[in-house]
């Protein structure tokens, strides 16, 4: 479908129309700092009031991953009175993630590949298949922590149905999929004119000028750079600061390791099996029942995370394991930076 344009004043009406057939999640202003009125805190949430949607948002603590890969998800239900007859629990309803930044769209595409690979995981995939993604292109880096250009997540080819680009009083609307086309039907769009196309072109050029690479090597070399660093002293040096709190995993848009446990109903007649986010940085992550711990040292756990982000997920899924969003860096109370680590190992032996 040819590109369209939507007036910014018509955005609310579109969101309202979308909300009739699916839940809409979008970035919303949650808090303003009492000392600095310019310091705004945004978060992803389901929209109750279209006017709350803030497409001028900067990066959130948690990405939109949580709507597809919730921190807690029931996967199995069974009876404890008589025959257990365990049944799968698939919880999904149509939703649209509205205003997803390119890095997060790229991250979702990584999760898609991981969960669809080999043995498919319908608990994730059914939610994903019921989710439309309206992407919002970035005109400038969120802050100096982000390194999305390096990690190849700034210009996502897939992982979205519609791409919005903000330009003056309008959005340039690109449609990628059939689902995107269906969603656009309820928007008051017009065919993009030659001027709109030129404006989009100008946006792309401004965007290119605004982002700069930060790693001293091309990302295609990252797996090899990591491999060469396996025995480096850098891991021990960085891990000395690590508290093994797992914040990095919690905020990461591509982390998907989980733990699973049984919950029993109060009346003991039924139970369910629930999976929750887990973190490879916690000291029990690789422990077995007998007490043997296969990643006892903090440095081996830290290295494992960096390797997963820079190499293993890529090897396994063909998609990047780190999108350079910078969330783990911002969340780390010990100021450990994945970007700085990638820089450091390039120069270490």
């Amino acid at each position: 479908m040819l590109p369209q344009v939507l007036k910014k004043t018509d955005l609310g009406a579109w969101i309202e129309a979308l909300a009739e057939s699916r839940r809409v999640a979008a970035p919303i202003l949650k808090e303003t700092s009492p000392v600095d009125p310019k310091d705004l805190k945004f978060a992803w949430d389901y929209v109750t009031e279209p006017a709350d949607v803030r497409l001028d948002y900067t990066v959130t603590v948690l990405g939109p991953k949580k709507f597809i890969w919730p921190s807690r998800q029931t996967v199995l239900a069974y009876s404890l009175a008589g025959d257990p007859s365990p049944k799968p629990v698939l919880e999904h309803e149509p939703q649209v993630l509205f205003g997803v930044h390119p890095c997060d769209a790229t991250a979702i595409a990584t999760l898609d590949a991981a969960f669809a690979k080999d043995v498919p995981d319908p608990h994730y995939l059914s939610r994903r298949a019921d989710t439309a993604i309206v992407c919002l292109d970035c005109s400038r880096p969120c802050d100096e922590t982000a390194f999305c250009l390096d990690m190849g997540s700034l210009y996502p080819e897939t992982g979205w149905d519609i791409m919005l680009t903000a330009e003056d009083d309008r959005y340039f609307v690109e449609i990628k999929t059939d689902l995107g086309q269906e969603l656009v039907r309820s928007a008051k769009v017009q065919a993009a004119t030659k001027q709109d196309m030129q404006a989009r072109q100008a946006f792309t050029e401004r965007k290119r000028a605004a982002f700069h690479t930060q790693l001293p090597f091309e990302v295609k070399y990252l797996p090899e750079v990591l491999d060469a660093s396996y025995d480096s002293l850098v891991w021990e040096a960085i891990a000395r600061r690590c508290f093994s709190c797992g914040s990095c995993n919690t905020v990461c848009p591509t982390c998907y390791c989980w733990d699973i446990s049984d919950d029993v109903a109060m009346d003991l007649t039924k139970g369910c099996r629930v999976r929750r986010f887990d973190s490879c940085q916690l000291d029990t992550f690789a422990e077995v029942a007998g007490g043997e711990n296969f990643r006892k040292d903090r440095s081996s756990r830290l290295r494992h995370r960096m390797f997963r982000k820079g190499k293993y997920i890529l090897d396994q899924t063909g998609r990047t394991g780190c999108v350079g969003c910078g969330r783990c860096d911002r969340a780390c109370i010990a100021s450990i930076s994945i970007k700085e680590t990638f820089v450091q190992i390039a120069g270490s032996r």
Binding site: L80, S261, G271, A289
Partner: protein, 284 residues
Amino acid sequence: MTQVDMNVAKGASAPSPYVPRMARILAAEQMTETERFFRLRMEGEPLRYEPGQFVEVSVFGVGEAPISICSSPTQGDEFELTVRHVGAVTGALRAYKAGDRLGIRGPFGNRFDYEAMKGQDVLFVAGGLGLAPTRSLIRYVLDKRKDFGKVTILVGAREPKWLLFRDELQAWVKRSDAETRVTVDRCDKDWKGCVGVITRLFTQIRIDPSRTWAVIVGPPIMFKFTVLEALAAGIPEHRIVCSLERNMKCGVGKCGHCQIRNVYVCRDGPVFTYDQVKRLREGI
């Protein structure tokens, strides 16, 4: 639509890999103070498995635990598990007896490559609970005895009271077509057999390194030293086989707990050759 998008659409309606099927316990026996043996049969389709694979055992209301299958498919439609009581699920299994039902997922993982071992000598070295996964292949090899060359079975335990499959060990010792030796680390005067760590048994056996496969399963410390013995005997690294213990939670290469570098033990293992383990570095 990209390939991944198509896989997402297809996978959305795929059967959940996390739903156990029910199995009936046919026999249960407390083998030692901490280990319990179960013989089970699936309700409906029997479990189709290979030596070296494992299952996820569900105790509803408690959880799930990965357990090696200790029987061989040559034994028929039933399958056997040996469970050590160490956690919540395995602790709950203490109370399970014949007639009770359990949830089973699987089988998962690769297998011992018995095809490659055919016509060759096989040396089994099993320490402690390592005898459980090893037994799946021992039983297979003994049931298809003519397909294999010389068979040597070395079994070690901390003390006589921790020895598993005692009756079976005795039967193996009596066999003329296999050499079985059992040792314990320490004992009282009632024990008439060998005393000492399992590597000591290597001085009592003869190995033809040009045609021997060594299958070594036990705690990491035992594996380390036994591998040295096998290498010293001249067995090449790619014919030394082990089964790794990890916290396999999902069984399908997703949850991340059993990951060693780029390998998911639940999917790519648990059986690895020593040259593979050596390259992994974090294996043992």
